[in-house]
């Protein structure tokens, strides 16, 4: 993004002028492959951005909608032989729109709600009541779920088994190591507890902390961590992310940790970008770069330390879905597989097209329901072909989407975070 004389922050010219329209991106774009319509392709989004910014086309609602139609899976970024980033351009165009015609609700939502943990916890209280007081069990048992409209039923299916209390209130600020270790394993490690992890996938992050502590880490979980910023970026409010970044950077500086571990692919990829995001701010550039350098996905961190091999024999068949924010966002794909393969008796089956977007893209199931379902169907065909009992994926967005897919098809497949399986293997008493 570059600042223009009129104070509007626009995408760099090179990102659209350099497109040679070769069409390579059409082959890998999940939305294009569903609709087979140029308008839903990365090449079209680049052309529309160019025409919109150069004034050949108006920045009409329909043009901006094409930018929201992108699932930001970044497959186009990866394949582009010229080195442009159509997926990033689509996000930047959303920001252009918000600067010209800001939507009031976005400020309320992405500044006033999402980055405030207390308010988020209040806002999601009804969900916890739904699970806690047995309403959810009743909805399933009495068949009420089947009476819901399809889209509502799918949204219900997104929810994992919800925690009684947000994990933020359960975890202690400092979790001591279970046993002492030398070197990196004995490090003071910061844990970035993401919003979705704390509010919905609490079991997983609790497992992450247990696994880290078991392997010798002192785990610091700063309770005042705020949203990483990805939701605001997705909705065109890149401007709000900088403050969130500064807050998180300062927080983890005070924690004096050697590494910062995230178990949410999206948080991890966003945190790794802070250095880039604040590069133009002389006061923060160095601090942000130092912060981002420390960030690692939990699987990435674990595979770098002498990890204890679990003694249990699990006897399960597991496949793995690559979250876009992990595989392409962070270049991490070998480590989660290696982590799963450490478990005895775990039969690992490679998922065909494992790095193809699952259709979640954060909230596309809500905002682009039809397209999201189409993209998901391709994923579920592949999942079915593996015959796996578990599909592992370290991203709450992907997991919610996969939950919907599994329930829609009535498959006996459990969606888990890879770390959950490792944690289970550590604690399985049936072992050898």
């Amino acid at each position: 993004m570059v600042f223009q004389s009129n104070g509007i922050c626009k995408p760099s010219e090179n990102e659209y002028l350099n497109c040679i329209r070769c069409g390579l991106c059409l082959a890998v774009c999940p939305t294009y492959r569903e609709y087979l319509n140029e308008t839903a392709s990365p090449r079209a989004r680049v052309a529309l951005a160019r025409k919109g910014l150069e004034g050949e086309l108006e920045l009409s609602p329909n043009l901006i909608e094409q930018m929201y139609g992108c699932f930001a899976c970044m497959a186009c970024n990866d394949i582009c032989p010229v080195g442009i980033h159509p997926a990033n351009l689509a996000l930047e165009m959303r920001y252009v729109q918000e600067q010209l015609h800001p939507a009031a609700w976005k400020k309320t939502f992405f500044q006033g709600l999402i980055p405030k943990p207390v308010r988020m916890e209040l806002a999601t209280l009804p969900l916890r009541f739904y699970e806690m007081f047995g309403v959810r069990r009743m909805v399933y048992a009495l068949g009420i779920r089947r009476l819901m409209p399809a889209q509502l039923r799918d949204m219900e299916a997104m929810l994992p088994h919800l925690p009684q209390r947000p994990l933020r209130h359960v975890l202690s600020e400092v979790t001591p190591p279970l046993r002492m270790r030398e070197g990196r394993a004995g490090a003071r490690v910061g844990f970035f507890l993401g919003c979705a992890q704390s509010l919905m996938f609490a079991d997983e992050s609790a497992a992450t902390v247990r696994v880290l502590a078991r392997n010798g880490c002192t785990v610091i979980t700063p309770k005042q961590a705020t949203c990483c910023g990805m939701p605001a970026t997705g909705y065109g409010r890149q401007d709000l992310v900088q403050d969130q970044a500064r807050h998180n950077i300062a927080l983890f500086e005070r924690a004096r940790v050697e590494a910062i571990v995230a178990d949410c692919a999206t948080c991890g990829s966003t945190l790794k970008e802070y250095g880039h995001l604040l590069a133009g701010d002389p006061e923060w550039a160095g601090r942000a770069a130092a912060f981002s350098k420390k960030v690692q996905d939990v699987s990435e961190f674990l595979m770098e330390i002498p990890l204890e091999k679990p003694r249990a024999h699990m006897n399960i068949r597991v496949t793995y879905h690559d979250p876009c924010h992990l595989r392409r966002g962070q270049g991490v794909w070998k480590q989660p597989r290696a982590l799963l393969k450490m478990i005895d008796g775990l039969e690992f089956v490679e998922l065909p097209e494992s790095d193809w977007c699952c259709g979640s893209a954060g909230s596309q199931l809500i905002t682009h329901y039809e397209t999201s379902l189409k993209v998901m169907a391709r994923k579920m065909d592949n999942v079915e072909a593996t015959g796996a009992q578990f599909i592992a994926s370290g991203c709450p967005g992907c997991q919610m989407q996969l939950n919907v897919g599994v329930r829609r098809r009535g498959l006996a497949v459990q969606v888990v975070h890879p770390v959950m399986l490792l944690d289970q293997a550590y604690n399985d008493k049936r072992g050898k």
């Binding site: 350099n18 069409g23 991106c25 319509n37 308008t39 529309l48 086309l57």
Partner: protein, 461 residues
Amino acid sequence: MIVDKTVVEQLKEIMGQGAVLHSPEDLAVYSYDSTFAEHRPDVVVLPSTTEQVSRVVALAAQERVPVVTRGMASGLTAASVPFSGGIALLMTRMNRLLEIDEQNATARVEAGIVTADLQAEVEKRGLFYPPDPSSIRHSTIGGNIACNAGGPRCLKYGVTGDYVLGLTVVLADGRVLRTGGKLIKDVVGYDLTALFTGSEGTLGVITEALLRLTAKPRFARTALVEFSSLADASRTVNAILSAGIVPATLELMDETAVACIEEAMHLGLPLDVEAILLVETDGTDEGAVLREIEAAAQLCRESGARQIRVAKDETERSNLWKARRSVSPSLARKAPNKLGEDITVPRSAIPEAVRRLKAISAKYGLPIVIFGHAGDGNLHPNILFDKRDPVQWAKIEPMVSDIFDTSLQLGGTLSGEHGVGTLKRPYMERALGPVSIEMQKRIKQVLDPFNILNPGKVFPD
């Protein structure tokens, strides 16, 4: 706007809602292919059946509205750019694989199927559809047939047209013509299948194709051969072919091409070479495949090759091919604009063609990158330039003209696999002569009397 509201309404009646697009954004993205040319259609239709295509073309004929057929628009000649406006007929949703006949080794497909998808399906059954344009993953069979696409493997296996046994074509008045059959030999009447192959959408709309398949070669070996001299590399091509070895592919890349791939893909290619040859042998007998690649390697050594690396495994091999396929687009890293031609010369003339291309580059002071399917004489000289610089832009036309003259003087032609589109129209007469042009125009006149099918393409006015 030559398509008025009532025609749009009629199109919606034929196609149903959702398969007729005309928002400014839709029209803008159907205005281009893989060249720098642009012109918007008036309306885009996305048919799902031959019958819909037939009704759309019949309506267009009645209203005298141009119909420009489009696949995935990976073409390099602006053949699918609707310069006269009218209807852009998008074939991508007609992408069904209708039948694989294992006994007769044929496949019947709709025109919009992606070539790589078809290949994957037939290969699951031990069959093989060889034509492999670099755009296999982002181009359709219909487009491949309409441009008679080539690719590296054509050296051994032949071009797209060699695999087309029959076609379903919607004619300019909306009637449906079916040609050919599951026959290896068929001499009854003129070969209309061949006529529509390579016709670039000017004679009819191809909606289905019957394709010939072969047995999938079970073994392949790929060697990357480095040369310190481009001249040595181009002489080696003939040395290999004259020795009676028929590699599946024999690809040449010059130093700039290699540098561009390396920058885009980080494969560890050598950056201090003047040329690379990519040689692949394949077949059903592993021993024979190995012997052939070794014999080719020996000839390379004798012709001055600096180093020869044979791909160890399938990953290494597929990386080499991914690299080769990305040459053309990755050139964009070197300059804001590029113009890629695909002249073909008799293979004995390759060293001379390469020498003259370099001379043209030196004469005008603009780089010409050379790569291509050297084994079948099909070279891709790409001029790198910056269109915003008027001095550079002014050199492009005379340079292209010189490149074509070179090819024609050496007994070659304008295009081996990209086609003519609009970009090569000015040179058609030079290449074919007035008699051929007149005959071809008369064929066009018979099949498309109102000139509604992809008007303004292929022939000079």
